[in-house]
């Protein structure tokens, strides 16, 4: 009877351990999603953001990208390899043209075609106000490639998919 009791307690501990491992040790998919969470947080801008916060966020944005990173945005004639500094200055310039910005991601589809490479398809929505008070509301489908370098997943390619082709 006592042996049975210890056996049940042991089994319970093992089950709790397995559940804990699955919940608290993030999977690669969760780690990839986390990078998008950071991108969303650091690209977004509140109306009361000061110059110091703006610079800090801009620096953090740079840490998310591989060097170089391939960007392809057909509607803005943007295509090619960009260094981290170039991406940071592009982000800085874009964020300075808006007073408020909210970037959100939806419909993640994450696959790992090779070890340490993640391919992510998702919908990105930008909502906000321009510096002159105009409404900003842009939705695009993105295809992103992230590479695991060291322990971090870094954006190595971002392409805007042309859902509607004029």
């Amino acid at each position: 009877m006592v042996k049975m009791k210890y056996l049940l307690i042991g089994m319970l501990i093992v089950i709790i351990g397995i559940v804990a491992i699955f919940n608290f040790i993030p999977s690669e998919e969760k780690k990839v999603k986390k990078r998008f969470h950071f991108l969303s947080e650091w690209v977004s801008k509140s109306p009361d953001e000061n110059a110091f916060n703006m610079l800090q966020k801009n620096k953090k944005i740079g840490t998310l990208f591989d060097e170089p990173c391939e960007l392809k945005v057909p509607s803005h004639s943007l295509s090619g390899s960009y260094k981290r500094d170039e991406i940071m200055s592009y982000a800085m310039s874009a964020r300075s043209h808006v007073s408020q910005l909210d970037l959100k991601f939806y419909d993640f589809n994450i696959v790992f075609p090779e070890k340490e490479i993640a391919k992510v398809t998702l919908t990105a929505r930008l909502l906000g106000k321009s510096a002159v008070g105009e409404q900003v509301d842009e939705t695009r489908e993105l295809e992103c490639v992230l590479k695991k370098i060291g322990k971090k997943w870094l954006f190595s390619a971002i392409e805007v998919v042309e859902v509607l082709k004029k």
């Binding site: 939806y106 419909d107 993640f108 998702l122 919908t123 939705t139 042309e162 859902v163 509607l164 004029k166």
Partner: protein
Amino acid sequence: MEPTYHDGGMNFCWRLPYFFSEPKRHDVVAVRFAGSKVMLLKRVVALEDEQVEFKDGKLYVDGKGMDEPYVHFPCDWNLPSRRVEKDCVYVIGDNRSMSIESHHFGQTSKSRMMGVPLW
């Protein structure tokens, strides 16, 4: 899609129609991006293999001026003629009060048609 559908309004997407039939001209359709959480509401104006163009704000399909009673805000858009590719349709919103550059419209794959608004 003003004035047919208002910004911030609520609707449901009825997904059955395009399981059994092809999109037709003047249908209002929900076009998906990467998934079904964010969709665009647009109107089909031209079908596969048709030529579509704008001349001084008037829509022409295969050279014929289209009657569009659902457009309440006139525009002055000009768009050179282009052929709609295989398995695609050409969609535009009803609200054309903005510049052609600011309006999100064009050719899209039929596989992106999720359905029609329920009302």
